[in-house]
């Protein structure tokens, strides 16, 4: 895929995400209407629309504050700054993105923002300690690739929308807990069933929303990163180190999971079953490393068992 095709595909998917979000919200609101009466539905609908618009405008900073990221200046981390500057030049970005730091020993990084101009990259203190210059270059090139391909708007929007849906699902759940009995007595039992369906539907919808992002774009960003640095091995080594590190991020939630270079969710390991992989936001690291190895013609030892599907 050429850059233009990638940008076009990102635009189409952005549209798809927005449409999916609206449809999902309409279904949920309709279910609430039937279950609790039209007053609830209307209020919930207005909250959702308001939050959606606010989210679209402030998406970048919402994600930053949800992840506990703070903006830094060049003096704070000159090495990181230079690395990002170089990656931005290699990607042909008009402006070097802002740089954010997250105080967390778990190594990870992401890029977010609504437009390439307002995009920023965030790195944990853990990743800065773990990786050497060459590996960090690979990681930052991967983030630049997301910015250049216009993935970041899509990914940031999806994060905010998934956040809205989970918020509403939570609110529904609690209102069921507190007023469920009364409602099921006064109204028809159908209403309660619908509300339960909506509660079940919401997380599934959120997962679907994240899946429209497709794991393919991670492979694409890896490939672009290899092209930008001319060094697939650097990124591969970084991914290898990330796989070996099992520390979970402190401030992470489902909504922002797909943004990170490596899936930050660790605690759902036990839930993996035959459904494993279906709702993963990231392709397996070993697969990503394999593809980079093919590009660069080098070989790293396989990721040790137990860390393989981090």
């Amino acid at each position: 895929m050429t850059l233009q095709q990638q940008i076009r595909s990102a635009r189409m998917r952005t549209l798809l995400v927005i449409v999916l979000f609206i449809v999902l919200m309409a279904v949920i609101v309709a279910a609430i209407n039937v279950a609790f009466g039209s007053g609830y539905g209307l209020i919930m609908g207005m909250v959702a629309v308001g939050y959606g618009i606010f989210g679209y405008i402030a998406a970048g900073s919402i994600v930053a504050s949800a992840s506990g990221a703070r903006k830094i200046a060049k003096e704070d981390a000159p090495e990181l700054f230079r690395t990002v500057e170089n990656a931005a030049i290699a990607a042909g970005l008009a402006k070097t993105p802002d740089i954010y730091i997250i105080d967390d020993p778990a190594p990870n990084a992401f890029a977010a923002g609504r437009t390439p101009d307002k995009a920023y990259v965030a790195a944990t203190t853990g990743i800065l300690q773990l990786l050497d210059k060459r590996e960090l270059e690979g990681v930052m090139a991967h983030e630049m690739a997301h910015i250049r391909n216009r993935d970041v708007r899509l990914m940031t929007l999806a994060a905010v929308m998934v956040g809205v849906i989970s918020m509403i699902a939570d609110m529904l759940l609690w209102s069921m807990v507190f007023s469920g009995n009364r409602n099921s007595n006064d109204n028809n039992p159908l209403g309660a069933i619908l509300a339960i369906v909506a509660i079940i539907l919401a997380p599934i919808g959120a997962a679907m929303l994240q899946m429209t992002l497709s794991r393919r774009r991670e492979y694409l960003a890896d490939a672009t990163a290899a092209e930008l640095t001319g060094d697939p091995e650097g990124l591969a080594r970084a991914l290898y180190k990330l796989a070996a590190d099992q520390r979970p991020l402190a401030k992470v939630n489902r909504a922002t999971a797909h943004l990170w270079i490596e899936s930050p969710l660790r605690d759902n390991k036990g839930m993996r079953s035959s459904m494993a992989g279906l709702f993963d936001t990231h392709p397996p690291l070993q697969e990503r490393i394999d593809r980079l190895q093919e590009m660069g013609g080098f070989t790293l030892p396989p990721i040790p068992k137990g860390a393989a599907d981090a």
């Binding site: 233009q4 230079r82 500057e85 170089n86 030049i89 290699a90 990607a91 042909g92 092209e227 001319g230």
Partner: protein, 186 residues
């Protein structure tokens, strides 16, 4: 009769649309190539600006290396005077080897390597070297796309009709020169 007219009209519209899109694509790539070239220029200029300070710093310690200093300032003059892309690339290569030699000399003076401003200059130069390389990779990638589009059917027809011409790659003389200057900060 009517159907035939409609079919012809549709075909004409499609061709016109394609023309517009293909032409815009070429213009976009040409602009990106221009942008890439000026990004290389900025970094080359930045490096040239660092050179006098570097020479001053080393001069204070290594007094018997006038040939090397001359080499460096010649390379700098060449870089500042370069007009065409290949001239710039040549000057770039000359500059890299001249600066490399200068740093090799500096290695022999531990007192010099202890000077903070010198170490800073070294870091700056190494960084600029990386940035030139980054800008070059971007430029060459864009030029590759631009040239391929002009040489492949059907965009080649538009390229010919509207006077697009292939761009020159930014190439350094030989592969040894492509290695960035090794700066050891230890």
């Amino acid at each position: 009769m009517n159907i035939l007219l409609i079919v012809i009209a549709v075909i004409v519209v499609v061709i016109l649309l394609w023309l517009v899109i293909a032409y815009n694509g070429l213009v976009r790539l040409r602009n990106e190539a221009d942008q890439g070239e000026s990004s290389i220029d900025i970094q080359l200029k930045r490096r040239a600006d660092l050179i006098p300070n570097l020479v001053e710093a080393v001069k204070g310690y290594a007094t018997h290396e006038s040939a090397t200093f001359e080499n460096v300032s010649n390379a700098r003059a060449q870089a500042l005077g370069a007009k065409s892309l290949s001239e710039k690339a040549d000057a770039d290569g000359a500059m890299q080897s001249a600066v490399g030699k200068l740093f090799a000399i500096a290695e022999a003076y531990p007192e010099l390597r202890a000077v903070e401003s010198f170490v800073q200059l070294q870091t700056e130069l190494a960084d600029t070297e990386d940035k030139v390389a980054a800008a070059r990779r971007y430029y060459n990638a864009v030029v590759q796309q631009f040239n391929t589009k002009q040489q492949t059917v059907p965009t080649s027809f538009i390229a010919g009709a509207f006077g697009f011409s292939p761009r020159e790659f930014y190439r350094l003389e030989d592969d040894a020169d492509r290695q960035p200057v090794k700066v050891d900060l230890n």
